[in-house]
């Protein structure tokens, strides 16, 4: 005769350690302050670089490949020599690298929502925007790392910025300001689109035209008039021209002011929308 007894408890030794660990916990508090919470989320973004280096590698190998390919394949045709072309195209390659990286802001956020980490963060007693702002701070650091990669490779194949180290630093800072502001838009997309894969698809559709239909890789004078019209209103054009001025040692105050104003405007418009979506998400 076989006997099943289905109500038995599995033997498990956990009780005393658990009770002491739980009872020994400090009483509930009000959570970390705004700055600490934000920095904690930035720390998380940096840990991700260590655990998922592919994200950073994808974003940096791609431009390195482009740098080499464009310089040696198109350089002679577009400007006359690979060396001269590198000097012309570097600001564009740099901008493209970092602008493309901004989409990972949306991918990461969307993954958090899908996996439930987002609910966990939203139920913490912390400053509400901390997860979003912290992610942006972490992402900005990643943009800096990618920029260093691009300059490293360019230097190896003979690039020397006429504007010197100051020009390089200025161009990178300008780029980081612009891309942090642009990231707010990606946060909106990350909060709205259903899956991380959809984010990737949508973003490529937007980013390729934005970065290529600009003076990043070829002088727009050779393009048809209607393409030139788009180039003229493309914000990446503005960014590339301003960065080029800094790198070449001939900064244009008007361009710089416009980029900063545009970055400010993007933040003012997109940040409240992103925060509102974040708070209201059901």
């Amino acid at each position: 005769m076989t006997i099943h007894q289905t109500t038995g408890r599995p033997a498990f030794e956990l009780d005393t350690r658990l009770i002491s660990a739980v009872a020994g916990a400090p009483p509930p508090d009000t959570g970390a302050g705004a700055l600490r919470a934000t920095l904690t989320f930035a720390w998380r973004a940096l840990l991700k670089i260590r655990h998922v280096p592919e994200q950073l590698l994808d974003a940096t190998l791609f431009p390195i490949m482009f740098t080499l390919m464009f310089t040696y394949v198109f350089g002679g045709a577009v400007i006359g020599s690979p060396e001269a072309y590198l000097g012309y195209a570097l600001p564009g390659i740099l901008a493209q690298t970092v602008v493309f990286m901004t989409m990972y802001t949306a991918v990461t956020l969307n993954t958090d929502i899908e996996r439930g980490a987002f609910d966990r963060f939203r139920s913490q007693p912390i400053w509400r925007p901390a997860p979003l702002v912290g992610a942006l701070v972490g992402d900005t650091l990643r943009y800096g790392i990618a920029s260093a990669f691009v300059f490293g490779i360019a230097t190896l194949i003979g690039y020397r910025a006429p504007g010197g180290l100051g020009g390089v630093a200025g161009a990178v800072v300008l780029l980081l300001v612009f891309c942090s502001a642009l990231s707010w838009l990606w946060l909106i997309i990350g909060l709205t689109v259903r899956t991380p894969a959809a984010v990737m698809g949508a973003s490529t559709m937007i980013l390729f035209p934005l970065t290529f239909v600009s003076p990043a890789f070829a002088p727009p004078e050779t393009m048809p008039a209607w393409v030139q019209d788009f180039v003229a209103v493309n914000p990446v054009t503005l960014l590339v021209e301003a960065a080029r001025g800094l790198l070449d040692g001939v900064p244009d105050a008007g361009d710089l002011a416009l980029v900063l104003a545009l970055s400010g405007a993007m933040t003012v418009v997109f940040a409240p929308i992103a925060l509102r979506l974040y708070n209201r998400r059901t």
Binding site: M1, T2, I3, H4, Q5, T6, T7, R9, P10, F12, L14, D15, R17, L18, I19, S20, A21, V22, A23, G24, A25, P26, P27, P28, D29, T30, G31, A32, R36, A37, T40, W43, R44, L47, K48, H51, V52, D112, R115, G116, A117, F118, D119, R120, F121, R122, S123, Q124, P125, I126, T282
Partner: protein
């Protein structure tokens, strides 16, 4: 502040997604310091209810208070006192177990070394020390669940909400989660857990609310609920199919319930209100030379609970009021 006696108190709580009233007028009173279980099938509105109480979504109607604080007007106070472990492990899979807990400990106000110490203690308590430096994506389902619960305890919450904490776990991991819940209550935390298993609710909970289609259809202690649905079901397999009618007749007389003859020609089952009487009945059957090859006494399934309470199985058709409400 005068209503601290209730860990959770909801009045006419409603949440609708389009025409679907996921939560449709729920009144709950969860006393502080107990384990309270919300029992119901998939889609009954359990998760939506929990998300409203945890301030993640706003109620469309009614009120919910956590330890006296309104979830809409005083969301920040509510968040400071509760912790939520969602249905899916809400962890960062790319980070290690230790990093996940340090992150949460920092968010809860532990600084520097204190955050790391807290994380290490919890990993130890949940038997995860050996996996502390592994990325969470390499964890088994049971390990994730334990880490997830540990993440809710970085600051001792007054109220811990667990959304289907053992769904999809093997029996051993389930036992570990149950032990964790008991330990927590021992330390003074109120626990609200949702489940699809009567056994789980019965093992852990002081009180149980049965929900279906966004409404509470029964509420009380597990003893009261069992009085409504019966303590369990006895399933018997006879050695020889020819004996089945006689065994069924004897069981019906001795246990006072109508046996159900199952499709399997040697199997039958019946509802049992008094488990102690089962042994005697089986002994009497074997004494008469009738062979019983196997028997099992199990708790009623969720289907049987719903059958007893509503007259329809758990996944039965939605009542017509849904059409009427739109």
């Amino acid at each position: 502040m005068s209503r601290e006696t209730w860990a959770i108190e909801t009045r006419g709580l409603v949440k609708a997604f389009g025409a679907d009233r996921a939560v449709d007028g729920v009144d709950l009173e969860v006393p502080a310091g107990c384990v309270y279980s919300v029992l119901g099938p998939n889609g009954a509105g359990k998760t939506t209810m929990i998300r409203m109480i945890a301030t993640l979504i706003r109620p469309d109607g009614g009120t919910a208070r956590v330890l006296g604080h309104d979830v809409t007007a005083e969301a920040a106070r509510v968040r400071a006192r509760l912790a939520l472990t969602g249905q899916f492990a809400s962890l960062d899979e790319d980070l290690t177990g230790l990093e996940n807990l340090i992150l949460l400990a920092r968010l809860r106000g532990h600084r520097g070394k204190a955050a790391r110490r807290r994380a290490t203690d919890l990993l130890e308590a949940f038997d995860l020390s050996a996996a502390a430096r592994r990325e969470v994506k390499t964890y088994s389902g049971g390990m994730r669940r334990r880490l997830d619960i540990a993440g809710s305890l970085v600051a001792r919450p007054d109220l811990l909400m667990l959304d289907e904490p053992t769904t999809g776990l093997d029996p051993r991991s389930r036992g570990q989660v149950w032990e964790s819940v008991r330990a927590l209550v021992g330390a003074g935390t109120t626990v609200l857990l949702t489940t699809q298993y009567l056994e789980e609710a019965d093992q852990l909970a002081d009180r149980i609310a049965v929900v279906n289609h966004g409404r509470v259809i029964a509420e009380g202690t597990s003893g009261r609920l069992k009085a409504l649905v019966g303590a369990g079901a006895l399933r018997v397999r006879v050695a020889d199919g020819a004996d089945r009618p006689e065994v069924a007749r004897l069981l019906a007389v001795m246990l006072g319930a109508a046996p159900v003859l199952e499709p399997d020609p040697v199997a039958l089952s019946l509802r049992v209100d008094e488990p102690a009487a089962v042994a005697g009945a089986l002994a009497a059957i074997t004494e008469r030379g009738l062979g019983v090859s196997e028997y099992a006494l199990a708790q009623p399934s969720l289907d049987e609970v719903f059958l007893a309470l509503t007259g329809e199985p758990a996944d039965g058709p939605a009542p017509s009021r849904e059409e009427a409400s739109t």
